[in-house]
Symmetry: C2
Subunit: 371 residues, 2 copies
Amino acid sequence: MNTEKNIKTLIVKKPLKLDCGKTIKDFPIAYETYGSLNSKKDNAILVFHALTGDQFVTGINPITNKEGWWSYAVGPDKAIDTNKYFVICSNVIGGCMGSYGPSHKDPDQKIFGTNFPVITINDMVNAQCNLLDHFGIDKLFSITGGSMGGMQVLQFISNFPDKSKTVIPIATTSSHSAQNIAFNELGRQAITADSNWKDGNYTSNETNPGKGLAVARMAAHITYLSKKGLQEKFGRKLQEREDLKFGFDADFQIESYLRYQGSVFVDRFDANSYLYITRAMDYFDLAKKFNGNLSQAFINTKAKFFIISFTSDWLYPTQENKDIVIALNSIGADVGFVEIESDKGHDSFLLDVPDFLSAFKNFLDKSYEEN
Amino acid sequence: MNTEKNIKTLIVKKPLKLDCGKTIKDFPIAYETYGSLNSKKDNAILVFHALTGDQFVTGINPITNKEGWWSYAVGPDKAIDTNKYFVICSNVIGGCMGSYGPSHKDPDQKIFGTNFPVITINDMVNAQCNLLDHFGIDKLFSITGGSMGGMQVLQFISNFPDKSKTVIPIATTSSHSAQNIAFNELGRQAITADSNWKDGNYTSNETNPGKGLAVARMAAHITYLSKKGLQEKFGRKLQEREDLKFGFDADFQIESYLRYQGSVFVDRFDANSYLYITRAMDYFDLAKKFNGNLSQAFINTKAKFFIISFTSDWLYPTQENKDIVIALNSIGADVGFVEIESDKGHDSFLLDVPDFLSAFKNFLDKSYEEN
């Protein structure tokens, strides 16, 4: 992987006090942009990525040589039309695609590993806000993202109520539930159970806890798909065989599929980053600072919200998205909401779901015309 | 653990041809009984256990020193009233509580490990049917069990249509879904990823893949509980601390709970047995032999069925239980069905759910009065 030459990086000079109490400065934020910033600088959309995403939203990701994670939604004439909008996306801090994270070196040139500070969704968006200064953007046209990207959307507009005209959280929650935490903890336990993890110091001897990380990915992957979608796609179909083999190889296509998902993930993701980012998600509870009153998180913004959920998403179900709508309604905020019919589960926001993509596009383009 | 003296064992002399093609004979079935067989021998109930259960249904399990897995349902005056009924339960073959399994030795005195034959639900019930001959029981009063126990109930009455007067499958399915297989495969991958697993030969050097098995248990445990139940019980409650610690210890009670569930499981269960039993569940597809027509599996029985599901069970949801009812209705079988309201998820069948326990008791006692 020729990583460095393909990664644009902003070095943030300004000190950032993290929620854990530590202060970081002179740290890198790796980012990518699509489309062009217009002269009024009023066409910028900041996209936030999910747990395993990165800054390479669309087109071919130069590191993995695969399509960017939001290629269905972002590009010329797509929902986020890059002929019209200037899209910015950065790798979250704690990540492993160039932004400051556990695989970076501390001032003594030792790889951080688990000595990297535990970061939060709040820290992530506070770090990313520096990109606005970098581009000289006073106010974004929109902020959007699904899953953990949606959490960052909610946190960003709460922290910076005047910094975006529109706000589109997708398939997300304002607070990680016990079941969400349970699945993330399962993933962390799978990683730390791998004898190659070595308390996070695996980078020093060039082995890595790939088996544990693959198991963590498989667990998460199941939660991204719906029971019905899995049944329709895989059911009990066998993997290149006439009948059961009475062994422990992958007899079923679903087994083979999961193993594949685990193995390709390991090639592109860092196990310690997986620990840090899932921790940030579990710590996310936007209403906590407001004594449990979620409405207060949005009291200072005049932004126009559009919230999107999916019928078969059981990770961040419609009700958790509706709870955000209810909180916004109760303070008279400008808020739209749509629940999209889809059997593709939580992953619907990443896939070719026409009703979703057209609702997304229409909201953006209509709002932009009102500019 | 003083295992051997507390385990009653029947050595099955009769050869049993397994679905994989191999034949076993002179193999042990470990069993337990509760209550007394009456002189007419018409009060026996065969209970089938779930994935991680064993023959110690109620009272103190002499091996673990904990309550038996179905103590809420089985005992004097309980749903299965041991003052009235004679309860038999045996450890499934492939298991690790005395019945023939991968921790046993092959004829060359070498521990089987993954050389043990892959077994099926069909093999399990064919093995257990030998207990009827052992006790001289011509016809059982009832067969029952939840989860994988329910699968055995369905398979048993299909194989032996005249061997039980009543049939009570609980929280189960007639065919493992893609999502079910996915979660089981996740567990197997967690076990085999553990460097102590050593292709299943861990018993030879007294290390065992406890970390991997614990991860497998955590994954499964999440599927046994409902999202709502987890939220009500744990939510975001912290574990013996005032606030988040910004580290990777268990900050949340749900994390601590899962870790505990993983660690206690390892003390009582064998990792290879976990592989074999989950494989048997994944292979379960009762209609397969009947060209997909589930009704045909029950065409030869006159037994009276009572099927029970739980509203918040997302592992074997009500619809999959109803599919069994529909198959029975279509051949005019005698079948009752109840969906019990509970937020305790799949585990409801093991817990103190009064509506379930009273429906269960009423069906049994009314059917027995008709004897």
